[in-house]
Amino acid sequence: MEIEVTESGAFAELSDGRQPIGRRAAVRVAAGVGLGGAALSLLPFLSGRAAASPPTSQPPNTQPVNSEPTSTEPTSTVGTTAIGATSTSAPPQRPTGDDVALLSFAQQVEATAVALYNEALKVTGWSDEQAQVVTFIRDAHLSYAQSLSGLLGRDAPNSISPEVFDAQKGGFTGAIDAVLASAGALESTAVATHGDVIAKLAGTDGASLIASIQMNEARYCTVLADLAGETDPTVLLVDEEAASLVGKG
């Protein structure tokens, strides 16, 4: 009885090792591989004809969208870090050794302001509105001193500047109008001092904190002048800033 191999496919003879490969079958496989090889040898020629060619109208000096930027300038983390190369070198974030000295002085200025406003609030004759505003400002200075303490850690002096306190104390113990004027002058001094500190700080953490403090202390000048009944815009807007305490405290 003859049983034909019914397994489909060209490699049916090779699928089971128990089945012997006959001479004729071997010839067929060899012929198939030979024909396939001949076809393979033609593929480069055929595919060269069939393949799509890239557009030839590419403008000069363009680069693929996904390629690296051609800039050789250093990449920075300044600003928006997710985008490309910048030519700005990144400043340090944490306070440097020199920064610590500057920030410590700034903290002493803030602590001194708290002490001076405490003296001011002992004065009688404040209206409710004035008392609320001055208390708000006193508490804000306390908050600034605490924030700087948090930034400085063990390096924070957490003390007032006796020189500044002694020099300013007289202005915070007189009549209400005089106290408001002294407070406005103190705030202007703080603004100038923090400006000087920002001009010297290297680390951005300290600079950011001082900037947010300075921005509000600038507003205190205007508020205190208005609270004192001042209407001249040059005074309300502090056309002439007080002198900085950096190097004097």
Binding site: M1, P55, S87, A211, S212, T222, D226, P233, L237
Partner: protein, 310 residues
Amino acid sequence: MTNEDIQITDKPGIDRRGLFRLGGLTAAALAIAACSDNTEAGTVGRVGEGGTTPALEDPVVNDGVFLRTMAGISTSIANAYGHILDGGFLAKASETLPDLGDQTELVKLFQEHHTTAADTFNALALEAGAEAWTCGNTRLDAASINPIFDRVENGVPATDSSKVIGPSDDPTRDYINLVHSLESMSASSCQALVPVLSGAAMRFTAMQIGVRSARQAALVALRIFPGGYLPGLADSTVADNSSATTTAAADGATPAPTAIPQPVALPSRYGLLSPTTFIGGAGDENGVRLKINFETPSLNSFTYPFYACP
């Protein structure tokens, strides 16, 4: 019959089955070869003629970009004040703010400050190796300032789905509130520069400008709302618009327009970087006024090196 008796019968020549096998083998070999050869085919072809893929400009963000951006913002603010002053809006009485008085001279002072600030920022930009930016910030103008002018002065025409919105019921109120919003944004933007600028001297100069803007914001807040030193110290909502939210009247009457909170001189203990919200213009059919947030500059408002003044 046993299995040992089974033999594969091999017919002579290439029969039909053999031809199929040979054809299948050839097709498979061709398919494998097509997958593996010719790596120099180039990019994927396109059908028809199309434009090339545009090469995006390098989005450089550096000191020059920050400073050019701030120059543009300062110019936009100065131009906005020029528009307000030219229209004489601040010299007119405000129904909503009867005690406001004429703030024209004050806003002229503010305008001078921002013109000077633009020059200062441009000088710093030149030092940083960038080009000066002598026009307004296009994003701020197009997205915030011009829509406010349009809404306040012209209103909005009717559409298929909405009724006409008239010009503002009190342009003086809206424009003095806009001055406060722009001063607050200027101060916040200068403060936001501090952690991103690379040089301490540039931070100092930016903060000098920001400090002035902060004081101007505080002063104009006190002109709008005398005694408004602190949040909660007095009622900070415009009296005749005391409804905090828009509510539809049950009897079909016109709904109350959106309340406009009055600014205060000291909105917080620290300098703010949060947006400043402007609310103004006439209310729509539901009483809703225009509301726009003024924010510190970011990716969509930076003045990149490849931008040029329109």
